[in-house]
């Protein structure tokens, strides 16, 4: 779309592009803090055990070792809701759980010290599957969570969480809804491969104590503010300064560096030195953040025309052990279920389950991808019976302007959204949906042993407007402008996009707009790059701050020109009279040498403007070998005004990474059920897509002018990825002629479904 903007929507390089391509961008492992020690953890070889005896004597006596911590000598900090995760515990709950911590002068000494620690374990029975875990006879992981079910979260008593987070959608009367239905179906679907978002850069943190409750934290994260939240909310440390480095990929996972933060803070406290912990790739795969496991037992009531009359279900999310954020993912997932499915009668309950697996946590799609992947196959049974085209089903049933939904805050919000049907239709046309869709469980083409099939999925997210943002914009005497907002760079180019918005408001050359480093001491308070909120929420704050500063400048300039501010304008660091452009002065003559104009902008939570993404996909299945190839993906959405087309293009294609589309066919964390060890804990055994295997990727992006901020943008974010696994599962089901209810669809599952092999375990 053409526009009259100078920067908005233009194909311009990122401001930091040169730093990236020359290797000058400093990522976590590239920074050094003077006096820094290296921290390492001894990790449990058992999935469930108590430490019976631990002897750290030899480790402590190794030259260069500065501290050895076990559950016996740690600070009394606990995190989680309710607080249940200590720095170290006598009980170990997954293979990779930290047994002891060491801080030493070098990595080599720390590693040697770890090997000197002697431990005797009392082995306990372990449970890995989320529904095995809730059986009465299952081993109990925590006293506070009977049958390994996390208690429902309570109201937190702070803004945005006045009520308990949503964990039960209760609307209307499902019994009545089932009576009204022409079709009633039920089923179970599991999305429980527990894949790893696996950013290329492993997680890391440096903690330095400046006083008893005052610390500086350096980390590679997409949201530096979350270190402040972690330490201040859970641990009551008052003064935390959080500094973010360039972040080598996060996909949600590095928002909250939970266990690693506690470990580094405890070691730094014990040694009175800064301590760095930087995970190896094996630790990253064994002991960091995975996607949750998800399983839904659902029952759907539907009329022949596709109108949903009742949705009932139990949704279980498996979080492994020591996971802090589950309840929020359930809340967002429950909200997002309603966005794609208008229905008058709901009874849908969500529960977090604890198992002896590596903790699951925040991953792009945050509950929504897990929800969509497990719910759409069950809805598909109803659509099959009614013989409804899924594209038509979604167009009919997604939430439109004036419809309401409960969001993660358990409050009812009424949609003020845009009409996405046009994007869906245009997407369908570009993909050739009508031609390729042959009906449910019917292949598009058959050629020898090859079958192709198509699938479509829709996902919506109202977190684009979650939580608050604050920003300052300072107009300097030199004509430069400084943007102050606590936003880090983890790949989305959001720092650049925000600078472009400010440059547009002030009509400045891009190089004149600078942003403060992502440091919580120098920037106002900010939620961060979560929930896909960067474009709308952070954008609103910086635009409002720039407008405020501009207004102050023009008012001051008007005095000088004996006119009113409305007659004044500014561009390229010059103020001028609109009707007499020769009446112009550089900013310096308005500010003088010792004055700047600082504007303030704020974004307030707005859950009323969901964005939606429809994913079309075409796959080829070899029914002789069971191999699946994704041939084509098309992403269709309305992004509002596009801010940075290059960044958007990258974000859409990102659905092929970050534990996204390939969780449908190959990505999973495989454990050995005999001993709980992850068998895919290196980058050869953990499967990922290479340059040689790229499907055709297209997009259809509309640019409706959204009622958001000056530039009418809403952005894309997590919805780029969240619908993809469900779309692929539908396409494979159609190609093979059999509805699948589990992921990933590895060749054994395909051949087993076709009756060609025995033994592939189906849940």
């Amino acid at each position: 779309m053409t526009n009259n903007y100078r920067y908005i929507g233009k194909q311009l390089p990122r401001k930091d592009a040169k730093e990236i391509v020359t290797g000058k961008a400093a990522f976590f492992d590239d920074i050094k803090v003077p006096g820094m020690l290296i921290g390492k953890a001894l990790r449990s070889p058992y999935p469930h055990a108590n430490i019976q005896r631990i002897d750290t004597h030899n480790a402590e006596n190794l030259p260069g070792v500065k501290a050895v911590l076990t559950y016996k000598n740690i600070p009394p900090w606990t995190v989680g809701i309710p607080p249940h995760i200590p720095v170290l515990d006598r009980r170990l709950r997954y293979v990779g759980d930290a047994v002891a911590l060491v801080a030493a002068e070098t990595k080599e000494i720390a590693e040697a010290a770890i090997e000197c620690i002697e431990v005797e374990y009392e082995l306990l029975e372990a449970v890995y599957d989320l529904e095995e875990a809730i059986k009465p006879e299952a081993p109990q992981l925590y006293d506070f969570a009977p049958q390994n079910m996390m208690p429902d979260a309570l109201p937190l008593g702070v803004e945005g969480f006045e009520d308990a987070p949503l964990h039960h959608i209760k609307i209307g009367n499902v019994e009545k809804g089932f009576q009204e239905a022409d079709i009633i179906c039920q089923g179970t679907c599991s999305y429980d491969g527990i894949p790893n978002p696996l950013p290329p850069e492993p997680p890391g943190i440096i903690v330095k104590w400046e006083g008893p409750e005052e610390a500086i934290v350096w980390s590679a994260t997409q949201s530096p503010s979350w270190a402040n939240i972690l330490y201040s909310m859970f641990l009551n440390f008052t003064e935390i300064r959080s500094i973010a480095t360039y972040c080598g990929g996060s996909y949600g996972s590095k928002n909250m560096l939970f266990n690693i933060s506690l470990h580094a803070a405890a070691l730094a406290k014990a040694t009175n030195r800064p301590v760095k912990i930087y995970y190896t790739k094996a630790e990253h795969l064994n002991a960091f953040v995975l996607r949750p496991a998800s399983r839904i037992h659902g029952k759907i009531g539907m009329k022949k025309d596709g109108t949903l009359t009742a949705i009932q279900g139990d949704w279980f999310m498996g979080y492994g052990a020591n996971a802090p954020m589950g309840f929020m993912q359930l809340a967002v997932g429950c909200g997002e279920a309603q966005l794609a499915l208008r229905c008058k009668n709901w009874d849908f309950k969500a529960k977090c389950v604890i198992t002896n697996r590596t903790p699951s946590g925040i991953v792009r799609g945050f509950g929504g991808q897990e929800l969509k992947a497990s719910l759409l196959p069950i809805l598909s049974i109803a659509m099959q019976e009614a013989d409804i085209d899924p594209l038509e089903f979604f167009k009919k049933n997604y939430v439109k302007d004036g419809d309401g939904y409960y969001w993660r805050d358990s409050k009812w919000h009424v949609c003020e959204g845009m009409d996405y049907r046009k994007a869906m239709e245009k997407g369908g046309e570009a993909f050739g949906w009508k031609k390729k869709w042959k009906g449910w469980l019917k292949p598009t083409t058959e050629n020898g042993t090859k079958r192709t099939g198509v699938g479509v999925s829709l996902h919506g997210n109202a977190d684009v407007g979650e939580d608050r943002s604050e920003a300052y914009v300072r107009l300097m005497p030199s004509g430069e402008t400084v943007v102050q907002i606590l936003v880090a760079e983890s790949g989305m180019g959001q720092r650049d996009s925000l600078c472009k918005m400010v440059a547009e408001v002030l009509q400045l050359p891009l190089e004149k707009v600078k942003m403060t480093p992502p440091d919580s001491l120098v920037n106002p308070v900010e939620s961060g790059l979560v929930g896909s909120r960067g474009t709308y929420a952070c954008g609103t704050a910086v635009i409002a701050a720039a407008q405020d500063a501009r207004k102050q400048l023009l008012e001051k300039a008007a005095e000088k020109f004996n006119t009113v501010a409305e007659n004044m304008d500014t561009a390229d660091g010059i103020v001028f009279q609109k009707d007499k452009p020769d009446q112009a002065l550089p900013w310096f003559f308005i500010t003088g040498p010792f004055q700047s104009f600082t504007g303030f902008g704020r974004f307030n939570t707005d859950f009323t403007k969901p964005n939606f993404m429809m994913i079309f996909t075409e796959v080829e299945v070899d029914i002789e070998t069971g191999k699946i190839e994704i041939l084509k993906v098309l992403a269709a959405t309305d992004a509002g005004q596009i801010i940075n087309p290059l960044a958007l293009k990258g974000q859409l294609r990102g659905s092929l990474g970050s534990a996204g589309i390939d969780t449908a066919i190959m990505e999973e964390t495989v454990i050995d059920p005999q001993n709980g060890h992850i068998m895919t804990s290196n980058m050869i055994d953990y499967k990922w897509r290479t340059f040689a295997e790229l499907p055709e990727f297209d997009d259809v992006i509309l640019e409706s002018q959204f009622p958001t901020h000056q530039f009418k943008a809403i952005g894309v974010g997590e919805i780029a990825t969240a619908p993809t696994p469900a779309a692929v599962l539908m396409a494979v089901s159609n190609a093979v002629g059999k509805q699948f209810f589990e992921y990933p669809l590895t060749p054994d599952k395909i051949l087993s479904a076709l009756g060609k092999i025995k033994g592939a375990k189906s849940k």
Partner: protein, 181 residues
């Protein structure tokens, strides 16, 4: 009877010589903090001893390509080589790509900027070095050559499409520049 490979006194100090980004570098082998230990990988030496932190450590097991540098014209995984095995080699890292006199970016770097061929940027130095080795060796590079040359590079943000476009474009520019000469 074997002799200790490590020097045990000063007059037996071994030195290895590398050419890094066009400059001669002599490194002592030993266990002191300023020396290169026999167990050090080339990646450790590049990043920690020489301070060229543009080269990234992703997996440290030869599976992600992030640590790729060019050694005597070939792309190599610097995490899989011991520094003591590299005596006499010429090594180029991402820091060596810019023209040292003019400061101009290599056409490949400029092409990555123009195509937005990165997101988080962590894998970018390795991908650029592997691409550089490819187009320096082969004049008529085809898309399948690029995909094959980069198939060992892990990019999780998915910038593959833009990377391929960037390398194709850079190849054309290099060919055009050569034709003009």
């Amino acid at each position: 009877m074997t002799t200790n490979a490590l020097p045990d006194n000063q007059d037996q100090i071994h030195t290895i010589h590398l050419i890094v980004n066009g400059n001669n570098v002599s490194l002592e082998i030993g266990m002191a903090p300023h020396q290169v230990q026999p167990c050090h990988t080339l990646l450790q030496t590049i990043r920690e001893t020489l301070g060229f932190t543009g080269t990234k450590e992703g997996c440290d097991e030869g599976a992600c390509g992030a640590c790729t540098v060019i050694m005597d014209g070939e792309p190599v995984l610097s995490c899989m080589m011991l520094t003591i095995e590299c005596d006499g080699k010429s090594i180029m890292t991402i820091e060596g790509l810019q023209n040292p006199e003019t400061g101009h970016l290599d056409p490949l770097q400029q092409s990555f900027i123009d195509h937005g061929a990165f997101q988080c940027g962590f894998c970018t130095p390795g991908i650029i070095m592997a691409s550089k080795a490819l187009i320096d060796k082969k004049s008529n590079v085809e898309i399948k050559d690029i995909k094959e040359a980069l198939s060992g590079h892990y990019c999780r943000c998915i910038t593959h499409y833009q990377v391929v476009d960037a390398v194709v474009d850079a190849t054309k520019k290099v060919m055009r520049a050569n034709d003009d000469k």
